[in-house]
Amino acid sequence: MNLPDRTVLENGAILLSVALPSNPFIAIRGTVPAGIAAEGSEFGLAEFTSRLLLSGTRRMGTAKLADRLEGIGATLEFRNGDEVLSFQGRCTRETAAETVRILVDCLSEPAFPSKEVERIRAELQNDLRIEADDTHHRAVREVSRLVFPKDHPYGREPKGDPSRVRRIRRGDIVSFHEAHVGPEGLILAVTGDVDRALIDESIAAPLSRLRGDGGAEAIPPPPPHRPGSVRIPMPHKSQVDIVIGAPGVPRRHEDYYALNLANLLFGRIGLYGRLGRNLRDEQGLAYYAFSSLDARTAGGMWTISAGVNPSNLGKAIESIRAEMDRLRTEPFSLEEVRDGKENQIGSLVVSLERNAEVAAELHRMEYYGLGMDFLERYADIVGELTEERIRNLARKYFLPSASSIAVAGPIGRLRVPW
C-alpha cells in the first residue's frame, strides 16, 4: 500500500485517501467529535441525534433521502460512540460526488422532523428493552459501568435510560447538533477506486462546503476503578454470559503495544489464545471464551467474555481465574511471544485486505495521531517489544483482584466464585 494522502481543507476538515486499484468501489470512514463525551450530563442525547441524521435534511425529506441514496446504490450509516459520531459508506466512482454531497447535507443541515423524533424515540425504547434481554449486553454494560464509574462517558449506556429517552426534546437535539457537528475535528478517510482528480472534485469539493461549529473537547481520565461483582438473574435464558473487566490504557500510552500483545496471547490468537485452549478446546465448556483490549483517547478496558451452560458457571470462572494466575506461575514462553509477534506483523497483510478495513485503519492513524507512516513502522514497534515487558504487563494488568465481574443468565442461586 502506498503512503496515504493527507489534506487539511480550508474549513478544517481532514481528508485522507489511498488508492487500492483492484477494488471496484470506494469505502468511506469518518468521525466528528460529537459522541457521548460531548453530551455532558444530557445522557442519551448523542445517540438520539446520531439516529436522526438519515431522517431528512432541509432539502430532502426522509423518504426522498433514502430514495436518492439507494437509487444510486450507495450506503451511509451514522453511529454514536463514546468519543465520536462516526459515519461510514460505500459508493462507486460514478456516485462518489453525489454520496459525499448527501453526507455533507446530513451532517450540516439535518431537518430533525418531529415525526421522526418520535419514531426514533420508540425505536430507542424498543432497543433498550431488547438489550435488557440480551445476556452478553447486560454483562458488558455492568462491567463497563464498574470499570468507568461515576457516569464517565466510557461507562455509560449510550442510549441513556427509558426516562431520559422520554424526556429528550427536539430542541435539545438541534442544540447538540449545532454545538458539536461541523468541519472542526472532522476526519474523513476514503479508499479504493480513487485517484487525485476524483478526490479533489468529488470528495474534497463537497466536503469543503461543510460549515458549522464543533471541535473536540478533552475527555477526562476515568475515575479509579473499585472492583465489584454483579449478578443478573435471567431465568428464561439457556446460557450464562460471563464478563470480567479491568482498566486498560489509552491508545497512546507507552504500555499499549506490549499490553496488546499480552492480550493477544492470553485470549485472542488462534482459537482464543490460552483462555480458549483451556475453556473451549480442553474442557469443552464454552463455544466462545476470549479477551479484548479496548484502548481509547483517555483510557481503556480489558475484558474477558465467555458463554457457558449454567451448570458449568463455577468451573468456567475458576478456570478463567486459573489462567490469570498462571500468568504469574507460568509466564508466556519465548515461543508464545514469538508466535504473537509473527501474528501481529503478518496480520498487516491480512487485516488490510478489505477496502473498508483500510479506510478504518487510515482513520485510526489520524485520530490517534499515529502518523501516516504508522503501517511502515509497525513491524519495528512490535519487533522491539521484549518478552520481559510483555510478561510484566500481563501480570500488572490481568489481575483477578483488580477486575470486576458480571454474570447474566439463568444463574438461580449459583455461586459466583470471584
Binding site: 419514531r119 488462534g270 463455544y287 508466535d339 509473527e342 503478518g346 485486505e353
Partner: protein, 449 residues
C-alpha cells in the same frame, strides 16, 4: 469487460476450460480425482484466500443425526494426518492469518486468508482436512459440549426460536425442517462412529471444490494444488437427495408465547430452488419489498436499507422498529422470509395486515419503473461491494459453487438486469400466496425476574 484466462500447465488427466463470463479472470479446472479447482488471481494483492466447499449440509442429514454436519465441521480443526491437534491454529496464527468455517443447509465451507507467499500452508491444511481428520474419541466428546453451548447461545435470542419454528413448520418432509445447528437431543446422544462415517462419506475430492482468490500465478498454483490434492482418492458419488417437500396446501401458523423484549413476526413463503428461472425476479421482488444486502451474509454488516415498501409501511409508520426480507435461495425449494420486530404498542394483527396489504399491492400492479430501477441499482452496487477483498470474493465464489456454480452470483446478476416490472408482479402472484405460506408470531411475555 470479459477477460479470458489463458490455459496454462494442464495435466493430461485434468479437464480445463477457460471462462469468459464475469468481470474478473477466473481459471477452472478439474483434477483427475474429481476435485474442481477455481482460481481467481488478483495481481496487486499480497493476500490469498483459500476456500474449500463440500457439497454436504444439514439437508444430507437424517432425523436422529441432526447437527452432525456442523459437528464434523468443528472436528476438522482438531488435526489428523500430518497435523497434530492445535497445528492448524498455530500455523495460521503465525502467519497473521484468519480462518473459519460455515455449515449451511446445502454445503459446508472452510477458509484461510493468509499472506500469498504462504500458499502451501493453506493447501496442506485443506488437503489433510479432506481425508485425514483424526476424530479422536476424547476430542469428539469434548466438542459435544461446545456445539451444545453454541446452540444454547443462539437459544438466548428470541429470533432463534422463531426461525427454528418457521422452518420446522414450513417443511414437513424435506430436511430443511431442521436448522444446521441441529436439535439438542441429537447433539446430546450422537456417537463418534456415525460422525466419522458421515465425514468419510462426504469429504472427498469429487464432492468438493477448491477456490483460491488473491496474489498468485495460475500455473504455479495449479502445480502446488496437484501436489497437495492429486493423490487423494475419490469416493463413490453421494446419492442425490430423493426427499422432496410436498406442495403446501393451506396456511400454517404458530403462536409462540415466551419471555422476550418485543413481539416478532416472521412469514415464510415457498419459493423454487436457486437455479429456477424465477429466481432473478424473486431477487427484485425481495428488494422492492425489503431492500437488498448482497448475495452472501457479512458484507453488509449492520447496514439496513430504508428505501423499500416494508420499511415505509412498517418502520416509517411506527409499527415496527426493524424489518427485513431474506431470499433464502437454496439447492432445493426454499423460503422467502419477511421479518418484523414490532414497535412498542403495535399489534401483531395490525403488522400482519399491513404486510398482507403490501403484498397485495405488488400482486395488483407491477412496481413503477423508477422503483424497479432503484432496486436494480442496489443489486448492481452490492455486486461490487461484495468484491471487497479476497475473503469476501472467496466466500461469494464458494457459496455459488455450493449452489451449483461458482459464478452463480455473476450469472444471476446478468439475469436480474433483464427482469421487467411485470415479471416481479408475476412472481408475487405465483409465490406470495396464502396457501403456501407459514406464519410464526412471537408474543413476548413479561420477562421473569
Amino acid at each position: 469487460m470479459s477477460v479470458v484466462t489463458p490455459l496454462l500447465c494442464l495435466g493430461q488427466l485434468d479437464i480445463a476450460r477457460p471462462l469468459s463470463r464475469g468481470a474478473m479472470p477466473t481459471h477452472v479446472e478439474t483434477l483427475g480425482n474429481g476435485l474442481k479447482v477455481i482460481l481467481r488471481p488478483i495481481p496487486d494483492t499480497k493476500a490469498l484466500s483459500t476456500w474449500v466447499v463440500y457439497r454436504i449440509g444439514s439437508r444430507n442429514e437424517v432425523p436422529g443425526m441432526t447437527g452432525s454436519t456442523h459437528w464434523v465441521e468443528h472436528m476438522l480443526f482438531k488435526g489428523g494426518g500430518k497435523l497434530a491437534k492445535g497445528d492448524i491454529d498455530k500455523m495460521i496464527s503465525r502467519l497473521g492469518g484468519k480462518m473459519n468455517a460455515f455449515t449451511d443447509t446445502d454445503y459446508t465451507m472452510y477458509f484461510e486468508t493468509i499472506p500469498a507467499s504462504a500458499m502451501d500452508t493453506a493447501l496442506m491444511i485443506e488437503s489433510e482436512r479432506m481425508r485425514n481428520a483424526a476424530f479422536d474419541p476424547k476430542e469428539v466428546e469434548a466438542e459435544r459440549t461446545v456445539v451444545i453451548s453454541e446452540r444454547e447461545g443462539a437459544e438466548n435470542q428470541p429470533d432463534f426460536a422463531v426461525e427454528e419454528e418457521l422452518w420446522g413448520l414450513a417443511f414437513h418432509v424435506h430436511p430443511y425442517h431442521w436448522t444446521a445447528i441441529g436439535y439438542k437431543q441429537d447433539l446430546a446422544t450422537l456417537a463418534r462412529d456415525p460422525l466419522y462415517r458421515h465425514y468419510l462419506r462426504f469429504y472427498a475430492p469429487n464432492n468438493a471444490s477448491l477456490i483460491l482468490v488473491g496474489g498468485f500465478d495460475v500455473a504455479v498454483a495449479m502445480q502446488h494444488i496437484r501436489e497437495a490434492f492429486g493423490r487423494l482418492q475419490p469416493e463413490a458419488p453421494p446419492d442425490p437427495l430423493r426427499l422432496a417437500e410436498p406442495e403446501q396446501r393451506g396456511e400454517r401458523r404458530s403462536d409462540l408465547e415466551r419471555p422476550g423484549p418485543a413481539d416478532l413476526l416472521s412469514v415464510g413463503c415457498h419459493i423454487p430452488g436457486a437455479a429456477h428461472e424465477d429466481t432473478p425476479a424473486l431477487v427484485l421482488l425481495a428488494t422492492v419489498l425489503g431492500g437488498w444486502r448482497g448475495f452472501v451474509p457479512f458484507a453488509a454488516g449492520d447496514w439496513r436499507p430504508r428505501s423499500n415498501r416494508l420499511y415505509r409501511a412498517l418502520v416509517d409508520a411506527k409499527l415496527a422498529t426493524d424489518v427485513g426480507v431474506r431470499l433464502e435461495s437454496k439447492l432445493d425449494p426454499s423460503l422467502l422470509i419477511a421479518n418484523a420486530t414490532l414497535a412498542p404498542g403495535a399489534s401483531l394483527d395490525r403488522v400482519e395486515a399491513v404486510l398482507d396489504r403490501e403484498i397485495e399491492k405488488l400482486k395488483r400492479a407491477p412496481p413503477p419503473k423508477s422503483e424497479l430501477a432503484r432496486a436494480h441499482q442496489q443489486v448492481r452496487a452490492w455486486a461490487r461491494y461484495e468484491q471487497d477483498g479476497v475473503t469476501f470474493q472467496g466466500m461469494l465464489l464458494s457459496a455459488g459453487e455450493g449452489l451449483g456454480a461458482w459464478d452463480f452470483a455473476e450469472a444471476l446478476l446478468a439475469k436480474v438486469e433483464r427482469v421487467r416490472p411485470e415479471q416481479v408482479r408475476a412472481a408475487a402472484r405465483r409465490y406470495l400466496v396464502e396457501e403456501h405460506r407459514t406464519v410464526v408470531r412471537f408474543h413476548a411475555q413479561e420477562v421473569p425476574r
